[in-house]
């Protein structure tokens, strides 16, 4: 349906490792900028916010894999684990920078924020919910958990919605950048219940050349 050339199978695993490498580039680059005075006059906050935004971007990319396959015939399922894990790493770094560099490991303040401030409560809950997903993001767990694995990993929808909510609650006014991230997450979640009707409608139409499965 679309003319994206398929990658020869022998490059698949190398391309996944490349994705991990590329995916960590924003964190490394912004860390370098922050440490050398390139992130403005409030570098901790800036770095913290950038990590959070990139976490959302990787969640968006993770959620986009299925609709891309359904609607455009592009099968990038092999990258989904890396994208999901990258999202987890960014959430973890986001929280670490907040606790370590912003609040200087004042655990009382961290605990107070988590208990009192809904957007931090939600953000922290998302971090906790991501842990079982990250821990089971390997072939052994998929085999071991069987159907349970699929059910467990449906948590990503709750986490994505929580992350979007966390973002909206954290900003002073919802402008273009927050809007676009939240809209994409909403769209990608809303796609799920529509998936079955869309797929059966597509199947009913005359066969089109599908990209490789």
């Amino acid at each position: 349906m679309v003319g994206i050339p398929t990658l020869p199978r022998r490059y698949h695993s190398a391309s996944i490792w490349a994705l991990y490498g590329i995916g960590l580039c924003p964190a490394v680059w912004y860390f370098y900028l922050a440490a050398t005075g390139g992130l403005g006059f409030n570098p901790v906050k800036e770095f913290e916010h950038l990590l959070g935004i990139w976490a959302l971007r990787f969640i968006i990319a993770t959620l986009a894999i299925t609709p891309l396959r359904d609607l455009l015939g592009v099968n990038w399922i092999r990258y989904r684990r890396a994208l999901g894990l990258l999202a987890f790493y960014y959430v973890l770094m986001h929280f670490t920078v907040y606790a370590l560099l912003d609040l200087r490991l004042d655990l009382g303040a961290v605990g107070g924020d988590i208990a009192k401030r809904p957007y931090i409560t939600i953000g922290f809950a998302c971090l906790l919910l991501l842990i079982p997903l990250a821990v089971t993001s390997n072939n052994w767990s998929i085999r071991k958990l069987q159907q349970g694995w699929n059910r467990l990993h449906k948590l990503i929808y709750l986490i994505a919605a929580g992350g979007a909510f966390h973002y909206v609650l954290a900003v002073k006014s919802v402008t273009f950048v927050p809007f676009i991230h939240v809209a994409l997450i909403a769209l990608l979640i809303a796609y799920r219940p529509l998936r079955r009707p869309i797929l059966s409608w597509k199947r009913g139409k005359p066969k089109m050349a599908q990209a490789t499965r």
């Binding site: 922050a34 440490a35 005075g37 992130l39 403005g40 006059f41 409030n42 570098p43 901790v44 906050k45 770095f47 560099l101 912003d102 609040l103 200087r104 303040a109 107070g112 924020d113 009192k116 401030r117 809904p118 957007y119 609650l169 954290a170 002073k172 006014s173 402008t175 273009f176 809007f179």
Partner: protein, 269 residues
């Protein structure tokens, strides 16, 4: 342009925030919502010619030309600035007491509040046009008349020995050092003396989070974040950024707390 001003006793004895930080880390949503937006987008703004209309419940309404305002008795005032977002600066402003201007228009006895308004120029202020408008324009603010007349309250026309950069609210802005920064309205074109408490932009946007008074108060948290501490901009860098405790009335309690005696500051946030 360089600006001369006489020294004043109102001088915080703390290290100044570097001028580059004061002029590149700004909240001025008329030029965009990111901190670097105002310094990057304010180049096309024309702060001259300019005039400020002072009207309402006054004996002598008057439109002040900028030349006239620049001829007021200018003083250098080094004040703390505490943003509602949890960061702070120390800034050497140049300006004159708002009361000096109010005296000239002779407020009537019925006037209880002062309302302020920022200029609307979508063609020069990119944040005022486009599909996503973070706030409704014009930006409006207000003070009680006694707050407006307090000697700490100034109209600033410069900082760091020069006229105000566009991104800091050129050519004339309010500075009320014991209130959160958003009360210190920028690029003022109108001042009205009124009887009832005026509407204010951030209160209109979210009344639960931004009150009319908005006095700096570490004991009253913003609903979404703590106000107990603040990050002094330009201090500590990336690895050593240490938050400092926020002071009641931003450290000006001795001068201003009496304005609010008997008031419940939790209810009147």
């Amino acid at each position: 342009a360089p600006l001369t001003a006489s020294p004043s006793a109102f001088k915080v004895d703390e290290p100044l925030t570097p001028k580059e930080a004061v002029t590149t880390y700004n909240n001025f949503y008329e030029f965009g919502v990111n901190k670097e937006d105002p310094s990057q987008n304010a180049g096309a703004f024309k702060p001259t010619p300019w005039s400020v209309k002072v009207e309402g419940m006054v004996g002598k309404p008057k439109e002040f030309g900028l030349d006239e305002l620049m001829k007021m008795q200018l003083e250098e005032r080094t004040y703390r600035l505490r943003c509602v977002e949890g960061w702070s600066m120390v800034i050497p402003w140049i300006g004159f007491p708002l009361s000096a201007l109010l005296d000239q228009v002779e407020p009537l006895g019925s006037a209880k509040y002062v309302a302020f308004e920022t200029v609307v120029r979508p063609e020069e202020m990119p944040g005022q046009s486009g599909f996503f408008q973070p706030l409704s324009w014009p930006y409006i603010e207000g003070l009680r008349l006694d707050e407006a007349r307090h000697p700490l309250t100034i109209l600033a026309v410069g900082l760091y020995g020069e006229t105000l950069p566009n991104q800091n609210g050129a050519p004339i802005r309010l500075v009320v050092p014991w209130k959160y920064g958003f009360k210190s309205i920028k690029s003022i074109v109108k001042i009205s003396l009124v009887e009832k408490q005026p509407e204010t932009t951030w209160k209109n946007a979210n009344a639960r989070e931004y009150g009319f008074y908005s006095n700096v108060n570490p004991a009253v948290d913003h609903p979404r974040w703590s106000q107990a501490t603040e990050q002094r901009i330009g201090e500590g860098g990336f690895f050593g950024a240490a938050r400092r405790p926020t002071l009641p009335f931003n450290g000006y309690a001795d001068q201003v707390a009496s304005l609010y005696s008997g008031m419940d500051l939790k209810a009147n946030y």
